[in-house]
């Protein structure tokens, strides 16, 4: 099957002053399959927004190319398949949500009635039906984000590209956006989105790409990113002494909490050892690598490029 999105050897330089340049992307290659959710994760400045803006023809590649359903991104026809949510979307905010969606519909060549129906369908879908007649100026960050998603879906695109759809939202807002993305997948749409938070991505993505300094360091299923998880045991109060007696020498104090990291294969052994001590256990949680750790190491097996 044809790739929904094909990014080929993409390189992007930004001019900085007369001589200097910033290299934002270094030969990035990536294919997004039809119907999948692919999340692009990376720290700030990794080149996520640059990649997405090149897909949307807002920026032009220094080298390489991008194809959308086989059409070069430079052609307006490519955008017939694309919906786009910009990072921190900004609207003509003297309009109401409904008016903005109608405007979007007209930009897409829709008639008044057709547009109005679609607009309200989407407003209901992103739960803005009560705010549809309110000026966008008065929207909260979360509402603006949801309107941005609705706007991206106006033309019923096959591929939805979102730049940091969850940034700046509270946990409930994040969960809502995650749900929305999953419901789009059910409608057989392809979703390509970026995030600087791995947690947002791993729960809903079919595949994850990790972008560091303009290079893809990992491309594959989210479960493979974290090879061997560890456990983090937290105990209320200073129990480093007792733990040392039980052979756990690397316990640390964080505030009033004693923390100790336990390897996956030692978990039960350790728990048995401390059972009799009647420790006021605060929590025991599975600890995955922090994003920094993942970004720092080149994940071996499925590394792309």
């Amino acid at each position: 099957m044809q790739a929904a999105l094909r990014i080929e050897d993409l390189t992007k330089h930004y001019k900085k002053g007369l001589r200097e340049k910033i290299v934002a992307l270094r030969g990035l290659s990536l294919e997004v399959h039809q119907g999948e959710i692919l999340g692009l994760v990376g720290p700030n400045g990794a080149g996520k927004s640059t990649t997405i803006k090149i897909i949307m023809n807002l920026l032009f590649p220094t080298k390489g190319r991008v194809e959308i359903m086989g059409i070069n991104a430079r052609s307006p026809k490519a955008r017939e398949h694309l919906g786009y949510l910009p990072e921190n979307p900004s609207f003509y905010d003297h309009l109401t949500g409904e008016e903005f969606l109608l405007f979007t519909g007209r930009l897409l060549g829709m008639e008044g009635n057709e547009g109005r129906e679609k607009a309200w369908e989407l407003l209901r879908m992103v739960r803005l039906e009560d705010a549809g007649r309110m000026a966008i100026r008065k929207y909260s960050k979360g509402m603006a984000q949801r309107l941005g998603i609705a706007q991206a879906l106006m033309g019923d695109p096959r591929i939805v590209v979102m730049d940091e759809p969850m940034s700046g939202l509270d946990p409930i807002g994040r969960a809502e956006v995650s749900q929305l993305i999953l419901s789009l997948k059910k409608q057989e749409k392809t979703i390509f989105f970026s995030s600087h938070i791995l947690h947002d991505v791993e729960a809903i993505c079919d595949r994850v790409g990790i972008l560091v300094e303009g290079r893809l360091t990992y491309l594959g299923t989210p479960s493979r990113i974290v090879s061997t998880p560890t456990w983090l045991l937290k105990i209320e109060g200073d129990y480093r002494g007792i733990l040392r007696e039980k052979g756990l020498t690397h316990a640390t104090m964080v505030g009033r909490i004693t923390q100790v990291e336990i390897q996956e294969d030692e978990l039960w052994e350790v728990m048995d050892a401390v059972r009799g001590c009647n420790l006021p256990i605060y929590s025991l949680e599975k600890r995955r690598c922090s994003l920094e750790e993942i970004f720092a190491k080149e994940v071996g097996s499925e590394t792309a490029g």
Partner: protein, 271 residues
């Protein structure tokens, strides 16, 4: 195919422009100017009707210029700066549609404003005409007053096209404004300069300078052609053929600017 996208963008631009503080400021200023010109005309010893028309048309012209200079550069810069332009350019339309829609909205904004102010001016002139204490009130060339306003609108449209053109590549609105202003100032004087060059005085200027000046005459818009204020106030003849040629000249100039702007804008990255 209907230009639905362009019309939608023009409509949104028009509505946005009307809500701008700068727009309200300029319109308030224009009305104050018109009222003040009425008072001045009332006080003046000369022909009150002539003075009313003269000041009135000047107010219309001044408003048209202010709106064209500021709204054009401001609204495009705002779109780029706030990145609301992403919402438009991410749709399957070309950059030319953006230029056309934005320009259409700006022209509508300036056109409606000038129509409103012209109406106000005509009413004021009519009032002074009716209450005039002159034994022989002069004939007022109502048609020519309207015609003069229409040509002021054409001039403002041309300046808007200049500001759109310069905004298509200038990195800051101030630079676009400055360039528009510069071309306007040159455009206002090319006619005089060419007249001087064709006069006996011109015989003595160096040929290089002369060639440069003539080049400028052809590149820069000849804005003095569009100024019918004096002809309207003094009821001078305005041959229709000349008017039509002048209007056609302005429209061609505008189209050329918009086409160039589209070419440049296509190459511009939206950072």
């Amino acid at each position: 195919m209907k230009p639905r996208a362009e019309i939608a963008l023009a409509w949104v631009t028009l509505k946005e422009g009307m809500r701008e503080r700068a727009f309200m400021g300029i319109m308030t200023f224009a009305l104050l100017l018109l009222i003040a010109s009425g008072v001045i005309a009332d006080l003046s010893i000369g022909n009150i009707l002539k003075v009313t028309q003269d000041l009135g048309l000047s107010a219309v012209s001044f408003t048209g210029l202010l709106l064209a200079f500021f709204m054009g550069t401001h609204l495009i810069a705002k779109d780029l700066d706030k990145r609301s332009i992403y919402m438009v350019l991410s749709k399957p339309m070309g950059r030319g549609s953006y230029i056309a829609g934005k320009y259409g909205g700006l022209v509508a904004l300036v056109g409606l404003s000038l129509a409103f102010i012209t109406l106000f001016m005509l009413v004021a002139t009519f009032y002074f005409y009716k209450t005039s204490r002159l034994y022989f009130p002069p004939q007022i060339a109502w048609g020519k007053l309207v015609l003069a306003s229409i040509f002021i609108f054409l001039e403002a449209s041309l300046i808007l096209a200049l500001s759109v053109f310069f905004s298509s590549f200038a990195s800051s609105p101030l630079l676009a404004l400055f360039l528009t202003l510069a071309v306007y100032l040159v455009g206002e004087s090319t006619h005089q300069v060419s007249e001087i060059l064709h006069s006996p005085l011109g015989q003595r200027t160096s040929p290089v300078l002369k060639a440069l000046a003539m080049g400028a005459f052809y590149i820069f818009p000849d804005l003095s052609l569009l100024d019918l204020k004096a002809a309207a106030v003094h009821n001078l003849p305005l041959p229709p053929l000349r008017l039509m040629k002048t209007a056609l000249y302005a429209i061609c100039y505008i189209l050329a600017l918009l086409i160039l702007a589209t070419f440049i804008f296509k190459k511009r990255e939206m950072k």
